[in-house]
Amino acid sequence: MVAAIFKLTDALDEHSALAISFNHMVEQVMTLNAVFGSLSDPTRRDILRRVSKQNLRVGEIAKHYPLTLAAVAKHIDVLHRAKLIRKSRHGKEQIVSIAPDTLVAASQFLETYQQLWQDRLDSLDTYLQTIKRKE
């Protein structure tokens, strides 16, 4: 799963569509804007990579960046609102973990959108062949 997430985030970096198998039962109720908005920031993509490897405390994440703890917490909130990560509390510690379904659903949307145009262009080809035969 972690390898798959890396492929997903790398591919999103390159703005390419993905051919992935996906779970049809994936919950689709998500804000695509929030997902793509969150992923447009390199720090947030980096945070997502870190938590895709292992669950981390907010403090453990923050030490990797030249930012205040509050600033890192804001980035984490943005990822959380987009449902890309989950937050849980263990005593005083807040633990951040990845929520992979959202990334899967987002890449599924992009793949579908691209396929829609590909199929439309193929359909035009069939149509042009049909009118050519009539001429």
């Binding site: 695509l32 793509f36 987002a106 145009w117 199929d119 042009l128």
Partner: protein, 160 residues
């Protein structure tokens, strides 16, 4: 404003640029190919001039099971029109009855280039905003388009 996603596709057709341009700008011709086989086009209005409107509705047919009767309208405004060369529009596409949740804001640029009697169409589509349920709408369309691909395959096999 930066798009959240941009895709570029291109395909070359064994037809003159005039024919391909007509297929993209004549409402009766658009109805023949814009949607997949099990989707009909009940409405299509197009005014290919700068500032002109392009309104096209796809309706899911019998073969789409639970999606049957679902309407997917697209309302667009042309931003560039160069006959036999280029079409650009900004558009909103949505699932009827759930416009707020499913709307996709997009821009589309289509260029037409003829070389030796064959015409290459290049489509660049950029998404600027996608509603929270846009994924579901796209999933419905995907079902339709997959069916279309299967039909295209069998069509090509029987017309060799």
């Amino acid at each position: 404003m930066e798009p959240i996603k941009q895709i570029t596709l291109e395909k070359t057709y064994d037809a003159s640029v005039e024919t391909v341009w007509q297929a993209w700008t004549d409402p009766e011709m658009l109805k023949q190919w814009w949607g997949p086989k099990n989707v009909s086009i009940p409405e299509c209005e197009i005014d290919p001039t700068v500032g002109g409107k392009f309104y096209i509705v796809m309706e899911a047919g019998e073969a789409m099971g639970d999606y049957k009767g679902t309407l997917w309208p697209m309302q667009a405004t042309f931003t560039a029109v160069e006959p036999n060369a280029k079409l650009s529009y900004t558009a909103q596409a949505w699932t009827e009855g759930a416009k707020e949740e499913t709307t996709i804001d997009q821009t589309t640029d289509i260029t037409f280039t003829e070389v030796d009697g064959k015409t290459t169409v290049k489509v660049t589509a950029a998404i600027y905003k996608a509603g929270p349920q846009a994924g579901m709408a796209a999933e419905g369309m995907k079902y339709g388009f997959t069916e279309q691909l299967d039909k295209l395959e069998s069509y090509l096999a029987t017309n060799k």
